[in-house]
Amino acid sequence: MTRRTRRQRAAQRGLAALVFGVLVGAGALADAAWTSSDTGNAYAGATTEAAVSIGDASASTTPDLYPGATGTAYIKVTNPNPFPVTVVSVTGNGAITSDQGAACDASTGVSFTDQTGLSGTVGAGATTTLSLPGAVSMDNSSANACQGAVFTIPVTVGVSS
């Protein structure tokens, strides 16, 4: 049987107190983190948020572009979450193409202006087509084959929940 000295017993009691304190502290932190996710502002910290998806908005487009004009871009957003989300930005991220093939794609004349400061709300479990008036423009380099074309504009969509 081991016989501990007074100094060893004191050290053992100190270590036990330290471990207890760390465990209690960690628990408090974990509880605080859970509370933040669960009740935070508009689910901002929820780790279970599902990603929104960007769909085909072709059913909603309006033919308003022509050389020298600005027009409206449309983006279809599906929010699978049980809470609303807000589209706050849409920025172009690639070459613009058309449904008219190479004859138009060689010179669409179309450019996209990055959109920031948006507040497009997509409801819980909803699909919404957002319109962005003035976001696209067409210059005189647009090929004749682009008349009536639908243009696909690669974008990155910023979403806030």
Binding site: I54, S58, D64, I75, P154, T156
Partner: protein, 112 residues
């Protein structure tokens, strides 16, 4: 904020056809051509037109002259010195590289 990649869509309109022009004599050999405005399918007005003169005997087209030369940003123009012959005119809406359909030919006009 999270980000997702996808595609936005936009759509172009189209230029409608030109409308049949009218002609009138101006001076001894001049011809004034006028026509109703054309538009895009979206409703916006066509910004300009190309005027073409056709020889009624040969059917050959000729580029118009005077204020009818090139791209005309109006709905009337004048050729001050048209060669002797019998002519018909057409107008074609244009915007940059875009072309509308050419109008039907005008009634013939004789220059002597």
């Amino acid at each position: 904020m999270t980000t997702r990649s996808g595609a936005a869509l936009a759509q172009a309109t189209s230029l409608l056809a030109g409308q049949t022009p009218a002609t009138a004599h101006t001076g001894l050999t001049g011809v004034t051509v006028s026509w109703p405005a054309s538009a895009f399918a979206s409703g916006a007005a066509a910004p300009a037109y190309v005027v073409t003169r056709y020889n009624t005997l040969t059917g050959s087209p000729s580029a118009a002259t005077g204020t009818c030369a090139g791209s005309v940003a109006a709905t009337s123009c004048t050729e001050p010195s048209v060669p002797i012959g019998v002519w018909r005119y057409t107008v074609t809406p244009v915007d940059g590289a875009w072309l509308g359909a050419e109008s039907p030919q005008s009634a013939s006009i004789t220059v002597v």
